[in-house]
């Protein structure tokens, strides 16, 4: 099945370039440079060298024996993106985009961030190349991901806290503000989008740079098990780590693809971030996709214990994979995610990010229904150091 964008980043009816005219010439220029770069072996040599020597790739695939035993079913394998430099998968994409920004002669980088992992990854690569970097982060996220906010400052980035008069400022609002900045600075500024959403060519570009996860994971599971897994599981906010790992198995019809969406307090409470399970089709941030919105097309406030999944939309390719049935998207609520967070910490000595904990929770649930000789590959997209306060607060409150 071909899910590559064919025309202006269309995945079925999803995707597109719904942006103000001021940004259109910039998106065209970006697409041009992107297509040239990915066809240029020297670009990939440079990218590969940074991945190997600086990021620490390939990331290992770890057999979580005690967790698998605890679940009593399929063997769970963790793709350890948490071991990357900066602590998450986000850096795979920021390296690619910032190499592109350098080729385009852009002097300044901007980024939006939710949990702060993309902000940290952008600030890190900006430091590596001596570039100016401004990161937009919702005030609510600056508060609950204070450690990442501090890391960005240490790295020399300028952190802009986005405040709202109405509602809680989170990832969506950071992205609005980044787009407002970009529209005024588009001549010399490169917008490093961290998720597999936004206007074309971003979803395709982010997938390309994150596909290293899926390529490695497929080779690693074949080497370890001598066969493909039954399932691949990843968390989905905007969906960058999920599309990255899915891409490696898209052509393997026997491998089921699962995305864990943030169900917050539960879909039925309305306090969640699960746009594929609880949303309807609309247009936001440059693409057509599933959104959490009211009947008048106004975007709703979202909720999740994990700042990185706290977003009312989702990448357009996930919308398409949902409709075609190639991937399945399952809601995982805050309590299930925190439970998986604790289980993985205690059983394997690995503290996962709250975002990744959603994927772990779904894998644990799915594992129980599978025989012991089955295999599930989970994308452990990031580490949980940033989440100590959130988890402590959650456990205290509950």
């Amino acid at each position: 099945m071909n899910t590559q964008s064919e025309h202006r980043g269309r995945y079925g009816i999803y995707g597109g370039q719904y942006v103000a005219e001021t940004l259109m010439p910039a998106l065209k220029e970006l697409e041009e440079f992107y297509l040239k770069a990915v066809a240029d072996p020297s670009f990939w040599e440079e990218y590969g060298a940074i991945m190997r020597d600086y990021v620490g790739r390939p990331s290992p695939l770890f057999h979580a024996r005690r967790l698998s035993e605890y679940c009593g079913g399929a063997q769970i394998y963790l793709k350890r993106e948490d071991l990357n430099h900066t602590g998450a998968h986000k850096v795979n994409n920021t390296v690619g985009q910032i190499l592109l920004a350098r080729r385009m002669g852009k002097k300044r980088l901007i980024a939006e961030t939710g949990a702060g992992m993309h902000g940290v990854a952008t600030a890190t690569i900006a430091a590596l190349f001596g570039m100016k970097c401004d990161v937009f982060m919702g005030a609510e996220d600056v508060r609950r991901q204070a450690q990442n906010a501090a890391r960005m400052k240490m790295l020399g980035a300028n952190l802009i806290s986005v405040e709202l008069k109405h509602g809680t400022a989170t990832l969506k609002d950071a992205m609005n503000e980044a787009l407002r900045d970009w529209v005024a600075t588009v001549g010399d500024t490169f917008y490093v989008i961290g998720t597999a959403a936004g206007p074309h060519p971003y979803p395709e570009m982010v997938k390309t740079f994150q596909s290293v996860i899926g390529r490695e994971a497929r080779a690693q599971i074949l080497e370890k098990c001598g066969r493909l897994p039954e399932q691949v599981v990843a968390c989905v906010g905007g969906g960058s780590n999920a599309i990255g790992i899915f891409s490696g198995f898209m052509g393997d019809a026997g491998v089921k693809l699962y995305g864990a969406e943030a169900a917050g307090d539960g879909i039925s409470t309305g306090r969640h971030s699960a746009s594929l399970n609880g949303g309807t089709v609309g247009v936001l941030h440059g693409n057509k996709t599933y959104l959490l919105q009211d009947e008048n097309g106004q975007i709703l406030d979202t909720h999740s214990v994990s700042a990185g999944l706290d977003y009312p939309g989702v990448g357009p390719e996930h919308a398409y994979l949902r409709d075609t049935g190639r991937a399945h998207y399952v809601p995982i609520d805050d309590a299930q995610a925190v439970d998986a967070f604790m289980k993985l910490s205690r059983l394997e000595g690995i503290i996962p990010a709250l975002e990744s904990s959603h994927a772990v929770a779904l894998a644990m649930r799915n594992a129980r229904d599978l025989p012991k000789d089955a295999a599930i590959v989970v994308c452990l997209s990031g580490r949980g150091d940033k989440d100590m306060d959130s988890v402590m607060n959650f456990l205290k409150l509950k």
């Binding site: 370039q17 005219e21 001021t22 969506k172 529209v183 005024a184 609309g282 919105q293």
Partner: protein
Amino acid sequence: MKSISEILERNSRAGRASLAVFISCGDPDIAFTEKLAKAVCAAGADIVELGVPFSDPMADGPTIQAAGQRALASGTTLEKVLEMAGRLRAEGLENPFVLFSYYNPIFKMGLGKAARLSRENGVNSWLVVDVPLEESGEISGELEKNGIGLVPLASPMSDDARVRGISESGSGFLYYVTVAGVTGARKSLPAEFAERLARVRAASKLPVAAGFGISSPEMAHSAALSADAVVVGSALVDLAFRECRENGEDSALAAASEFVRSLSEAMQRHSR
């Protein structure tokens, strides 16, 4: 109800540029907006842009963001804006209406229904901020079917060939965003404004309106020397909100009328 072309041609023959006024519908409520629309037309606005509030206005600065939030808080929806347009028509207001919206409220209502309600309520044209030339094919069919025009946007980033293509995709006028940036009152016109406008007008098949940042009679006057129409938005939104909050509705309507009159008069001086 007059067409946009009719108004622009009439004013052009009289040697003056047209004045388009953006109002943020539902700020602070739709009843006030209805009075405001009548007041600005009586004071000399040629065209009214009916701004539909959206929760995530990515192309707008603080003034229109805040106005949109107030409008949403008062329960304003696309449907209510269209119904208001219909009431204004029923009361005999003939000025062209441009429905100014982000795409999602329109998409969510359904293109067919939004276009039909626009026709039934006397809207002349749409301006959809986040539907650029490349995506406009998606909405043009329903618009044509209902006889609704599409006001296309160009910006300082659009080259001549693009301006030409953009102008061919729409009708009425081409809205030239004078600065790369978000909406909001500015102190002066950007450098080389007149030169840029001349280039855009040469490339465009449509008359050209200049908007974004124009906030005083002096700026409107300068802009009118180069453009076929001038759009004023944030400055009026700000003024109406402040007066309304501090001195009440009547005072706000009077202040808005006075401001629009001063814009209109400034634009008639030194006609082209």
